[in-house]
Each structure stands twice: as C-alpha cells, then as structure tokens.
C-alpha cells in the first residue's frame, strides 16, 4: 500500500468533509481497527462469508474465451457467484457487522447499478438493521429489478432527482443523510472511495478476492498469472484483487475504466484515463471536471462504472505506474458481454464486461500469457439494457 500518513496515498486521499462528520470518521476508524484486530469479529465475518455469501468463490478456467481473444489461458474469479450476484456483498456484510458492533442500528448506502444497494439491503436484513438506500432516478429507471430486490429485502429506496441523477448524486444525498443523522447512522459506502478510512477499509474487506484468487492460481497452475485485469469505477473489486499481487512486480495489473462513447467524445466515465486531480466526496483523487472545478456529468452503459471519480489508492497506483489504466467503450463492453455469454455460458455484468473487453488487446501483446480476470458480477440486472443492443441474432 502506498501511504504517507494514515488515509493518504501520496498526494491522494484525505478527509474533505464537513466538520460535523469529522468525529464520526475518527470513531469509524477506531472501531474498524479494533474489529480488525479482534479474532471474534474476524471469525464471525469468515463464517458469514462462508455460510451466507458462499465463499470461496470459484476460479473458472475459460478456454473457449481464451482462444477467442488469442490468449493461452484466461481464468475468471467468479464474484458473480457470490450471494446477491456481485463482489459488493464482501464489503457490505463486513461493514454491516461493524455497524452493529458500533451500536448503529440505522444504515444508509448509495448505489449506482443497484448491486451495492442490494448487498447492503441483504446484509442489513441478515443482521436486523434498518437500511435506507439512495439511488439516482436515472439509475433506478435502468436498474428496476434491483430496486425491487432492495425493497423485497426490507430496505427503503430513496430516489435522488438532483444533478446527473446517477451514482454521484446518490453519494451526495447519502452523505447529507449521514451528516443529519450521524449519531445513530452508519454510512455503508460501497466503493473504495470517499474519506479515510473508507478506501482502506473497503479494500480490506474486498482483499478476500485477491487472497482467494492467488491461492487458487497457485493450486491450479502452480504459478502466478502474468496479468490481472479488473474493471474500475470507484475501484473496489479492482483494489480487492490487485491487493494480493501489488508486491509481485512480474504480475502486470490492468484496470479498465468505462470509455463510454470514447474518450474523445467527452461522454465517458474514465476518471484516471481522462481526468485530473480534484476533491470529490471527501477525497483528493482523479476526477472528471471542467476548468472551473465543477464535476462533470459522466456517461457509461454500465451504471456501476458511471461515476466521475476513483478511489485515491487507484489514483496513486496510476501515478506510480504500478497499475496500467485503460478505457473500453460501451460498444466494446457489449461485444465482450456477448462473447463471454456464448463462449463460456456465463452472462457477466456490464461492469466486468469492460475487463473482458481488454483481453484481445492483452492477447495482442503475446499469446502465451495467462490472464486472471475479476468477474465482479453477473448480468441478470443488465438484460433489459442489452436487449436493445442487437446482441442476439
């Protein structure tokens, strides 16, 4: 981990928050570090991850996909098979356990694609916590099934009709709720973004992806992968899988951002590839902004990547060059969505379809490589969106 002082990743990170919340993030950091060192908490988390989430998730060999993209071997870390259909549950259940431990009975969360909202709603149902999920009206419309899932799980879904009406605005509203109800409420942030300790804590809860994948790689192949690739919106699945390989310089790490209609079009959500240094949602990081420092509206076919910032550790990893960040367009992601469905019988979420879309380019660097992909979620939620995209003949 690149850190200068707690919560800082080189020039990135920090706690750019209203004063009202400063005691809350200090309390949260203390509670998290305490829980982290507590064997009882860790045992309970491990038990819930095993018996309820269904971990470890499998590592699946994908030979037909590998052939199609010109690679020796592609292995898929199957977070799509985790309970509620995405990696989001790993952090949601960890933080919900932490909320209960802190004596907070009310949880607020934000969601883009709805996967984090569903994961939060499920974790709160499991632990008997009240759950309020903020979701932009644009996202709620394109992810109707997840809105219903959240409600079915007992959560209250509050639609946010402000700004771009997507994930960014849902985060604003969740923070406003947290400021107002901070004494009783836990903010269950879904990505490795936001003020310290969230980026470090979410990474910690998502590191299980990387730990398992590394062990599974060694057991299956007796070797580490040549390349690890993951999609990056805020970057929680990516930091989770990368964390196990950061100290292996021979392993190339690639983060794939949402290129939307192309970087040149300006209609994208690639905060690292197309952004600059700024402060958003409590953190100094790379953001999409105009010359006056206003945060720009983003575009991606994938609601989960449709966010104008990125976790501060990713910004630092981009700056140091340890991870290479690229962008794939909506079209490339949709083609990859169809490719994985047909070649391996796995319908991915549109978010990791961006990672799948990078494989041909990696294959172009040399066919002998073994590539590990974080398949961060499954595609059921996206069927309505892709139906109009001409993927079925």
């Amino acid at each position: 981990m690149i850190t200068t002082k707690p919560g800082r990743y080189g020039e990135f990170g920090g706690q750019y928050l209203p004063e009202t919340l400063m005691p809350a993030v200090a309390e949260l950091e203390a509670a998290w570090l305490d829980a982290r060192a507590d064997a009882e908490f860790q045992d309970e988390l491990a038990r819930v991850l095993r018996d309820w989430v269904g971990r470890p998730t499998p590592l699946t060999d994908a030979p037909r996909l590998a052939r199609a993209v010109g690679l020796a071997r592609v292995l898929l870390k199957r977070e799509d098979l985790a309970h509620t259909g995405a990696h989001k549950i790993n952090s949601a259940v960890g933080q919900a356990l932490l909320a209960r431990r802190m004596g907070k009975h009310r949880v607020v969360a934000e969601t883009g694609a709805g996967q984090h909202g569903v994961a939060s709603a499920a974790a709160c149902a499991l632990l008997g916590l009240e759950c309020v999920v903020y979701m932009g009206t644009v996202d709620a419309r394109r992810q109707k099934a997840n809105v219903f899932r959240m409600k079915l799980l007992g959560a209250e879904v509050r639609e946010v009709d402000a700004g771009s009406r997507t994930l960014k605005d849902a985060v604003n509203e969740a923070i406003r709720d947290w400021v107002t109800n901070v004494r009783t409420t836990y903010y269950l942030l879904g990505s490795a973004i936001g003020p310290h300790p969230y980026p470090a804590m979410v990474r910690d809860f998502q590191a299980v992806i990387g730990r398992e994948a590394r062990e599974q790689m060694l057991a299956m192949l007796g070797a580490l992968p040549d390349v690890v690739v993951a999609c990056v919106g805020g970057g929680s699945n990516a930091i989770g899988i990368f964390s196990a390989f950061l100290d292996d310089p021979a392993v190339k790490l690639i983060g794939v951002e949402a290129g939307g209609e192309g970087i040149a079009s300006g209609k994208h959500a690639a905060s690292i590839v197309g952004g600059s240094v700024g402060v958003l949602h409590g953190s100094r990081t790379l953001v999409l902004q105009d010359d006056a420092g206003q945060i720009r509206e983003t575009h991606s076919v994938s609601a989960g990547l449709d966010y104008p910032g990125v976790g501060p550790e990713h910004a630092a990893l981009a700056r140091s060059g340890r991870v290479r960040y690229v962008a794939r367009t909506d079209r490339q992601a949709l083609d990859a969505f169809a490719l994985l469905s047909r070649s391996e019988g796995i319908i991915p979420a549109l978010e990791p379809a961006h990672a799948i879309a990078e494989l041909s380019a990696i294959g172009g660097d040399g066919p002998a490589q073994t590539v590990l992909v974080c398949l961060s979620g499954r595609g059921d939620k996206d069927l309505e969106i892709v139906m109009g995209e001409g993927l079925v003949r």
Partner: protein
C-alpha cells in the same frame, strides 16, 4: 472608503463585528448564491442586503456537488451553474461591492473550485485580496486538510473561517479553536443547511463550549430562518448567519420585487438582533 481599502480581510471582519457590538446588536451575516436567480440580479440583491443592514456578506460560489447543503442552496447552485457562474465571477462580484460600499465580503464555497482556480490557491489568494474580499468559508475543508489553504491565504491577510459543529468534541475544540481567524462559525444543528422551524435545543450549550476556547466573535448559522430565531440568540451568539431563508425570500417574491423583499427580510433580522 480609502481607509477601508487598506484594511486586511481579518481587519475588515473585526471592524464589522465591532460596529455591531458598539450598537448593541447581533451582527447579521447574509448568504447569497452568486448568479441566483440570475446573474443580473446578484448586484441588486447584494446592495439590498447591505441597505437592509447586513454587516457581512457571504457570496456563495456555486458547486456541482454541495454535500453540506439542503434543497434551497442546492437549487440555487444548479441555477447559477446553468448560467456558467465561476469563482472568478464571484471574486468580481465581491470586488464591485467592496469598491461601492466598503463591505465585508466572504466567499463561501466547496474545496474543488478553489483548488482549480487559475494558478491554484496561490493564484486565488492575491486575486481575492485585490478584490477586497475578507476571507473564505469552505464547508468541506476541515482543519486537517486546510494547511495548503492557510499557506496561500495568510500572506494576503485573508481569513479562513472555521466551522464547528455540535458533534465536535471538547478536546478537538481546544486543539483547533485557538487558531481560528476572524470569527468562529458554529453550526447550530447536526445536519445540512436549510431553513428550519425551530432552532436546536442545545445551541446555547454548544456556543458556550466553543467560547471557552476563544475571544473571537461567534456566529451561529444553519437553520436560522426568521426574526424570532435571531432574537432567541441574543446574549448567546455575537452574530447570526442566514442563507437559505434569504434565498427562499428572494424566490418567493415577484421578479420585480426581489430586492425590496430581501431588504425587508434583512431589516427585520437586524431589528430582532438589537438588545
């Protein structure tokens, strides 16, 4: 006026609070989002607030993601951004009102537009000082992150006004309040900006906790909506900040009566602050 122009920002703030104290009343700080309801209206509204007796003006710098603000300021910011209002425009607005009225003007806005100003904070500070601004208030900039701001603002005599909240514990107050400049801004409630029916019950206790650590004037803001609220803060605070309720007053008035409506609203607050 020439005397005023030579004053630093911190001195301007001290002068404004001293004048209110000498006339035995609470200082009234009025917040207006620059560019709301439209660019052309801001000048007249600012003058109306001053004519109504406002001691200090906060010119709101619009931001796309105002996470400490309630619906009123959110909407005003959206309207202002729609018209392309930038921090540079807000500095120009400050310059005009300082030149015309020798007013005490603070710029209130979020961290990112300040960082992105031409030349960064080291470009911003001299421009703001040149315009005669007294300082800035940044609601998403806690003391821990403020060093780069202070390094740029201090040499220009600009004050960065700290906000403290009812949730701020005593040990944090004792560590941070002594380095406050200008005045200390106490957030009256645990929450975001926006007019409220009633003030929080623990405002007096909270202001008392803060006053133990400073001899600077104390302003109370967030949720202050009307003359009754102002009157109830006599003997507790030295100043009140009114933002959303001022914008609501502007919004509710017919387009050609907005300055008059704001003038009347501010005059009533000033009268209510007299002891």
């Amino acid at each position: 006026m020439t005397v005023g122009a030579a004053l630093s920002g911190t001195q301007r703030i001290a002068r404004a609070f001293a004048r209110a104290r000498e006339t035995k009343r609470l200082a009234i700080v009025v917040y207006l989002t620059v560019g709301y309801p439209d660019r052309a209206a801001t000048g007249a509204l600012v003058r109306a607030a001053l004519d109504g007796g406002a001691d200090v003006l906060e010119l709101g710098v619009p931001f796309s993601d105002p996470l400490a603000d309630g619906a009123t300021v959110q909407r005003a910011s959206e309207v202002a951004l729609h018209q392309g209002v930038t921090l540079a425009d807000c500095i120009a607005e400050a310059s005009t009102v300082v030149r015309e009225r020798d007013a005490t003007v603070l710029l209130m806005g979020y961290t990112n537009p300040f960082l992105r100003y031409r030349g960064g904070l080291r470009g911003f500070a001299p421009d703001a000082a040149q315009a005669g601004a007294a300082g800035i208030i940044v609601p998403d900039l806690p003391a821990e992150e403020a060093a780069e701001f202070d390094v740029a603002l201090d040499p220009e005599g600009l004050a960065r006004i700290d906000l403290y909240a009812p949730t701020t514990p005593d040990d944090r107050l004792s560590r941070l309040v002594p380095s406050a400049r200008g005045f200390v801004y106490c957030v009256s409630l645990t929450g975001i900006t926006g007019a409220r029916r009633a003030l929080g019950p623990d405002v007096a206790d909270f202001v008392g906790r803060v006053r133990r650590h400073t001899s600077l004037p104390i302003a109370v803001g967030f949720g202050i909506s009307n003359a009754e609220h102002v009157a109830s803060l006599r003997g507790i605070a030295d100043a009140v900040v009114v933002g959303s309720a001022a914008l609501d007053t502007v919004s509710a008035a017919p387009a050609d009566r907005r300055p008059e409506a704001l003038h009347g609203f501010v005059s009533a607050l000033v009268a209510a602050g007299k002891t």
